[in-house]
Amino acid sequence: QQQVKQSPQSLIVQKGGIPIINCAYENTAFDYFPWYQQFPGKGPALLIAIRPDVSEKKEGRFTISFNKSAKQFSLHIMDSQPGDSATYFCAPAGSGYNKLIFGAGTRLAVHP
């Protein structure tokens, strides 16, 4: 049974802080590890993703760290801003049909 565990469930940081969201998975066949961002009333949108051949990827203020042996990956948001307040989902997938398996989500609030 494919299972994805995301933590924490919610997170509050001050502007400029560095929230970290973690995702643990069981299926070793996953080979695509994305984070999606969702604002209230909107559909999720891809934020950043990593393939298993690298351990870290940075895009702007967002960084994914990937630990293949521990079957975990995490999202770091540098210099967080109030506009980053949203729900974040990890959603790993296997190759082929790319059926995303979503975590339960982390609701992030960045206070000014």
């Binding site: 909107k42 559909g43 949108a45 059926k99």
Partner: protein, 113 residues
């Protein structure tokens, strides 16, 4: 490009009624997906399609049906609506092999009472 569009935005159904949620994409994507999102939860895959005429079940297909007669459209049919189908439904599309990003529509909020 409009991207992925969904209609209606909101709908209230009575138990036992049926309806079709519409999804269309204008990006010439091969793959399309239907997810449902229950309050405070992640999305769960209902059905997906890898091209016109080809569909397959996802994690939670019971109570739903799909069809894919064209590349652009991927409607989701609810037969005999039940309160357990109260949810927000998202359609997504992806270009195909070698392209992993899924593009999501704005969602349809469905309430069954």
């Amino acid at each position: 490009n409009a991207g992925v569009t969904q209609t209606p935005k909101f709908r209230i159904l009575k138990i036992g009624q049926s309806m079709t949620l519409q999804c269309a994409q204008d990006m010439n994507h091969n793959y399309m997906y239907w997810y449902r999102q229950d309050p405070g939860m992640g999305l769960k895959l209902i059905y997906y399609s890898v091209g016109a005429g080809i569909t397959d079940k996802g994690e939670v297909p019971n109570g739903y049906n799909v069809s894919r007669s064209t590349t652009e459209d991927f409607p989701l049919r609810l037969e005999l609506a039940a309160p357990s189908q109260t949810s927000v439904y998202f359609c997504a599309s992806r270009l195909g092999q070698g392209s992993y990003e899924q593009y999501f529509g704005p969602g349809t909020r469905l309430t069954v009472t």
